[in-house]
Symmetry: C2
Subunit: 905 residues, 2 copies
């Protein structure tokens, strides 16, 4: 017969930590602790199989009643107490426990087994009648709420039990629950029962057996309550997992001054420091620690108050950490001088702590490097790389009372700027050189441009997986989300919080690492790691987090196969990326070099030229400018490969639209402004994304490609002559047919042969292509006959594969994510089914045609963990991402390799 109930306690257990799927996290860990000889209140776990049975058959397996009865008997034996007997009664807790933690989402019943007889027994045993009746009062209240449905009847009503308590307190003229006296408690029990009878038509159950089954039903039933369902949806938890039910003997931290209850972490969850860290309260229950009505003591004080217990606790926490090989979050209760462990689990921690603990544990030989790599989520790394508040300025703000409120710490780092309530405003202000904080009730894909322009994002609604939170993390933006206290009024362009009114344009500051929001400006400074690596203003040995980061990255680099490059258009970006570990430039956008006062008019004149001769005249002026830019980049990259993309965007993006701009260009070209206007109109396209851009420009105007190739190779020669090795990789964009690549490749090679030949140097270079329109992927076997490398331009590839322009996708994406059409934003995370399949075709066919072909990705997906993992699976040679995401890519690349190894085992 199938076993449904697993007992634990008395130094042994039928289950264990590895049985999480069957017993849930809590049940498995309780069993594990019991097996380790750690004192846990005895009890049993009803498995998740019963939950499945409950929902598929609408009831329990036949054998369950008998199994539960026997398990209760077993608890009675271990404790020496009797369930439902007046003399020395056994009280039980009934708690949920799913395989995946869903904190607070499901129901719990404590003190189960109390009735008018057993309360007398509890009094006798504890010698504390008030305690016994307070327990009884709490039980009736909790059972009434959870099992009997005594909830407010509509949202305007108060909790029915709190109404009664309030009435009694008012009559007795007291304020705190602790001021309630024995008679008050007895009265409350009576009135609670009467209220239950009135509402439900039934007496409160006095039979402990009946109470127990009522509680078990309620816990299984809570798997499908609204909160649990939406939590699972948000966190992508499988509904079929089900919950287990843990029934356990009650122990009481509130049974006198020789009792206590506490929570602790085996290491510091904020910094990762190796110190036992927690708090406790004498004569209290767990909820008292959380409620904050009494101030708990730091755990160190327990050593003085209960030296024996503290010694035992120390032994236990060390045992647990060593056993689980991870920092533990533990709960304990001392009942009458006896220590009971109620829970242990891996503790939640900040990014700083995650890195520090993982690295420390390797050095302590608790775990291996590989395990350390696996344990650090990419978000942890992101957190430690983000800017922070300048401490002095921050303290000053606190002192001045500029703290406003706290939301979810959705995007780590610190940011300060002026408030913009609309994405367009954020973009406009950013253009004026201002730092902006985008403040929205919630964000949608329409706000993407504004989010990109903002230093930080603040929202009133939405959780850790809301649009704002997910996109902010992906973009590396500071974000405080779901700050419910904000009242935002778009119409008046102001918001109210903590009694203060802030308007658009006012300064505000966000601490995305803690969730804190402050009025006014607070200076930010780069992260410690940035200060060590990039600014070199902090000595490595002075920064613990840098040292941990550095070790971790070193291990990641040992493990990973995927190389990491950066997208950089300027020498300073290139230097920054190298400090973060970039192994080359995967995308240098030449067109970005054209912006800026001095360059843009030459560029415009070139575009608007009537014929090749005129175009060449203006190109000649652009040549030295481009050459200088490339020299800077080649120097900075010091021998690492640099992929330079030839001119890509539609020409009309460059042309002047403002009157003054038009006049300036007309003067430069010696023509009438009206001629410029006409030419600009001619360049207009219906669908510029699918228009005259990419290699199509170089094919129409081969002299542009020629000039760019010349600038690249002349720069390469100049830099190489001074002894710095140079490895240019020339990338032709928007190729759809191998002939396009071929025509452009010939120009590049002709110029290269000429320039390099004349120099007498040996400068190895590659010519390759972006794979960014479907046809290139579908004909990769042909394209690879010319291309020495492919670089996936997944931004454009996503647009064409999905038939969706990013510029116009705002509203559509918002709707599509809402309706679950797309599981994630396909512009943030690679759409594996469509775009991914094309990539796979291109990789396979490209390698068949040219076995050694170099493969990389330079779309923005190159910095997204899920997409990096996919690139690893595809077997690409490298990913390329923005400089600050390079460390994240290094880590994820290593994690991907470890995933592989696991899969191969």
């Amino acid at each position: 017969m199938k076993k449904y109930v697993y007992r634990f306690g008395g130094g042994a257990a039928e289950g264990g930590a590895e049985m999480k799927m069957l017993l849930g996290g809590k049940g498995a860990n309780l069993a594990e602790m019991a097996n380790l000889g750690i004192p846990v209140p005895p009890g049993f776990t009803i498995s998740t199989d019963v939950c499945a049975h409950y929902y598929t058959h609408g009831g329990y397996p036949k054998s369950l009643t008998k199994e539960v009865k026997a398990a209760v008997r077993s608890v009675e034996e271990i404790t020496g107490r009797k369930f439902g007997k007046a003399g020395n009664p056994l009280l039980l807790s009934v708690r949920s426990g799913a395989p995946v933690s869903m904190p607070g989402m499901m129901d719990t019943v404590l003190n189960l087994g109390l009735n008018d007889e057993t309360v007398v027994g509890l009094t006798a045993v504890s010698g504390n009648e008030r305690f016994a009746w307070d327990s009884y009062r709490r039980f009736v209240q909790m059972y009434g709420d959870v099992v009997l449905g005594m909830k407010p009847e509509d949202k305007h009503e108060e909790d029915p039990f709190e109404v009664i308590i309030h009435k009694v307190k008012k009559a007795r003229k007291i304020v705190l629950d602790t001021e309630l006296e024995l008679d008050d408690l007895k009265l409350l029990v009576k009135e609670f029962k009467a209220a239950i009878k009135k509402r439900t038509g039934h007496d409160f159950p006095t039979d402990p057996e009946e109470q127990l089954w009522g509680a078990i039903n309620a816990v299984f039933g809570s798997w499908m309550n609204d909160r649990a369902i939406s939590y699972r949806k948000l966190n992508d938890i499988d509904e079929n997992l089900g919950t287990a039910v843990n029934v356990q003997a009650m122990v009481f931290g509130n049974s006198g001054d020789n009792s206590a209850t506490g929570v602790a972490f085996t290491r510091d969850a904020a910094t990762g420091e190796k110190r036992f860290y927690g708090e406790y309260l004498i004569n209290a229950q767990g909820e008292d620690v959380v409620a904050g009505t009494r101030t708990p003591n730091p755990i160190a004080k327990l050593e003085k108050e209960m030296p024996k217990v503290y010694a035992q606790l120390t032994k236990i926490y060390k045992k647990l950490e060593k056993h689980y090989r991870d920092m533990q979050d533990i709960e304990f209760t001392v009942e009458d001088g006896r220590l009971w462990m109620l829970q242990t689990r891996s503790g939640k921690r900040t990014g700083f702590a995650a890195i520090k603990i993982a690295v420390d544990m390797v050095e302590e030989k608790l775990i291996k490097k590989e395990e350390a790599i696996k344990r650090v989520p990419p978000s942890a790394l992101e957190q430690v790389l983000r800017p922070v508040f300048d401490t002095k300025d921050h303290d000053q703000a606190r002192k001045e009372g500029r703290y406003l409120c706290r939301g979810l710490n959705a995007g780590p780092g610190a940011a300060s700027g002026i408030i913009a309530f609309h994405a367009e405003d954020a973009v406009a202000l950013k253009k004026e050189g201002k730092n902006v904080i985008l403040v929205r009730i919630e964000t949608s894909p329409e706000d993407i441009a504004g989010m990109a322009a903002a230093e930080g994002i603040l929202t009133a609604r939405g959780g850790m997986t809301s649009h704002a939170a997910v996109v902010a993390r992906q973009m590396g933006k500071t974000c405080v989300a779901g700050c419910g206290e904000l009242e935002i009024d778009y119409k008046t362009a102001q918001m109210t919080v903590a009694g203060k009114v802030l308007k658009a344009g006012d300064f505000i500051s966000l601490n995305g690492t803690t969730g804190g929001v402050f009025m006014g400006e607070i200076k930010t400074i780069p992260s410690e790691i940035t200060r060590v690596l990039v600014d070199r203003k902090l000595k490595p040995e002075k920064s613990e987090i840098f040292q941990a980061y550095d070790k971790l990255m070193g291990w990641a680099d040992e493990i990973r196969q995927l190389k990491v490059r950066t997208n950089a258009d300027q020498p300073n970006q290139a230097r920054e990326a190298i400090a973060f570990g970039a192994q080359g430039i995967g995308l240098c956008r030449t067109e970005h070099m054209f912006f800026g006062e001095n360059k843009i008019n030459h560029m415009r004149a070139m575009i608007l030229s009537e014929d090749e001769a005129e175009r060449r005249k203006h190109l000649k002026k652009l040549l030295p400018i481009q050459r200088r830019d490339f020299e800077g980049i080649f120097k900075a990259m010091n021998g690492y490969p640099v992929t330079v993309r030839t001119l890509d965007p539609p020409l009309h993006e460059f042309v002047p639209h403002e009157k003054e701009e038009i006049e300036a260009v007309a003067a430069e070209m010696g023509v009438k402004p009206a001629d410029i206007v006409k030419k600009v109109e001619e360049l207009h396209e219906m669908n510029p994304m699918l228009g005259h851009r990419g290699c199509r420009l170089g094919i129409s105007f081969p002299e542009i490609t020629e000039m760019q190739a010349r600038a690249i190779f002349e720069a390469a020669v100049n830099v190489a002559k001074k002894g710095t090795p140079v490895h240019p990789e020339i990338m032709i964009p928007l190729v759809g047919h191998v002939r396009e690549l071929q025509l452009q490749e010939r120009i590049v090679r002709r110029v290269a042969d000429e320039v390099i030949g004349k120099s007498g140097l040996d400068i190895p270079y590659l010519v390759g292509t972006m794979i960014e329109i479907p046809r290139a992927a579908l004909t990769a076997d042909y394209v690879a006959q010319v291309a020495e490398f492919f670089s996936f331009g997944t931004n454009d590839l996503t647009q064409t594969t999905l038939g969706l322009s990013r510029d116009d996708a705002g509203k559509i994406l918002a709707e599509y994510l809402d309706l679950d059409i797309y599981p994630t934003d396909p512009f943030a995370t690679i759409d594996r089914g469509g775009v991914g399949r094309l990539m796979k075709i291109a990789v396979e066919d490209g390698r068949k045609a040219r076995p050694g072909i170099k493969l990389g990705i330079c779309g923005e997906h190159g910095g997204d963990p899920n997409s990096i993992q996919f690139c690893h699976e595809l077997g690409l040679d490298y990913v390329s991402c923005s400089p600050y995401r390079v460390p994240i890519a290094r880590l994820v690349a290593a994690q991907s390799t470890l995933e592989d190894r696991k899969a191969k085992k």
Copy 2:
């Protein structure tokens, strides 16, 4: 040892018709005739292998000299003449002959073997000194030109020999070549030789052996002349085929009044009528028939003039037609009463003749039905389906001298309209309801919209494979191309031809079947087939071409596997298509139904609505309009399946832009015009092709899909109630993710169940999707789980797969076709490498997921022969095209099946 020379003549030959690749078309047919016992002047063919050897080794195989010498000897034996001997000299012709006909592209030398001695022999044998010297004069001139390079030295110069002739004629005060007397001819020979000596520094070769090798060299050399190279490129002929060289004894049709030369067709090449048809000249050479200086006699007259020869010729032509089982184009010469056949080949013919001859030959049991199907090119069918001039009006125009000139008959049919010199003008005039003829120097893809708007296209430059010709045929437009006499001046917007000036806006008429161009308007009437099938104004038995067409189509329908549907949005189109053999509607665009005065304002109001309630109000007004349209179509289709596509284009295509339109909509909606303007601006998109359109509209506004589904099913019920079966197939456009389809499918099925359920009828219907963006094809295995059919929307699929917007592709395509990046316009013929591969993936994966899935195509490629063939190869169930292309699709579908059978053999 390899054999290079194949002899023929004297009633036998070493080669035969099946050796075309080795002997070229002419050589193989000469051998074949010889084998059939038909008199051909004896000779020999130097094989194409020698050509290959010539170009790979730069010279001839060693054994060739010996083989040629022996073959000349053999000709001497058969003719009893001696090559290079003064007494009864053998003269030779040396001609090219490639495996694929390249008329006029390569060189020929006639009368070879003449010199100062043999000319005396020729005089003696022919008894005609003038003839002998004229032959000699022609030989020196031809040899000088072809072998010795006596061409004009630059393009301003005249032919050097013509200069001499002109001088002599002027001195003698005569005009025609025939007026030259013996002494003049002798003088010319002398002067020609002197000119050759002067220019080349060498004497004219007198040794016949040397002459022969010179001519052979020249013919092989001409394989690579510029004309031949560009002809092969235009006609996609493999350069490696090479040419053969035919050396043959000369026979003279100009050796006296008992001699003659002629050309003939075994059937009428214009109408296909079974009658011997041709012309001849007494005492003339072939070039005299072509030159038109003398008017040839109709072939029937030969019966009287040379009854014996005529009897023999009749026997021969019948034998040849029966032998080759096709209408033959023959050339013959009578020398001194003796008949020689110089050439036979399948005759070129009009579309009318192609159909009639193919059908007649089946009835004569000369060929099988399958062969008849294979022999009719799609263009033939197109020709017989196009409109023609009203005969009376046409005669009147001729009488009034309105004939202007003749160009190439590039797109059959007749068209009349006003001249537009620019594509945009053509589009604008068409919108005003005018018939337009687009007149261009030449067209480029930029002109596509104008070509589509025009009734006919006239160009001054370009051949039968020029852009104008190819696209016009693809579009089914009347086209006269390469009309060199036109002088078009875009600046003054006028053209000059035949001394007349025509301006933009003037009427002009084109006969695309003959190439004739006329001033003024000439009424056009539909083709005979249309008059029989659609207008029912002509009785079938009165139209021979209809009867042939009808039989041919019947056979095609027996053979083909691919079904043919039509794209039709209106009942009259549907009826027309059915008359042409459509088996259903493959694409009914519901949005086309919205245009028109009464409907557009409801539509606009719906689009500009603020909320769902308002939208529903306007949709309610649209419902009865749509329902009525569908009723009309369902009735017309009489049980054939009708694929209805839900709303597809970006909404902003519908919105008003003109002031009056805006005011009308504002009035309809009861809002201010300014509100409308604002809303219109909001709907603007950067890349509408990749924006809010297709199913995205139905997902944002499910009520639109709901209304359309209701209109479809209510119409279906109404029509079915009256006893007409209805098979609606609802097609959701622009699906990229199966979830999109699923959401729309649910709406359609809900409405269908409700409407059909209430009716109590059984109306089978399908729900499926367009495959028009790459992601749909790449995830076809998922999409097919919901879709009951796929219809490839290859217009859009081409845009996204190639990353090229059709609206913006004009200039790019022109350049890309020029540079050979695209072999053909990918919007006209499916790009098999890219788009085709996606289609293949979708077909395979779709069938795996849903084995019985119905597959079709509804893009414009559905009417393109090459693309239809590809659809057959993919195993689609049907193609859908515009009504007038339905017969073409039926024919090509049958041809594709026959191709398959051939491949399987």
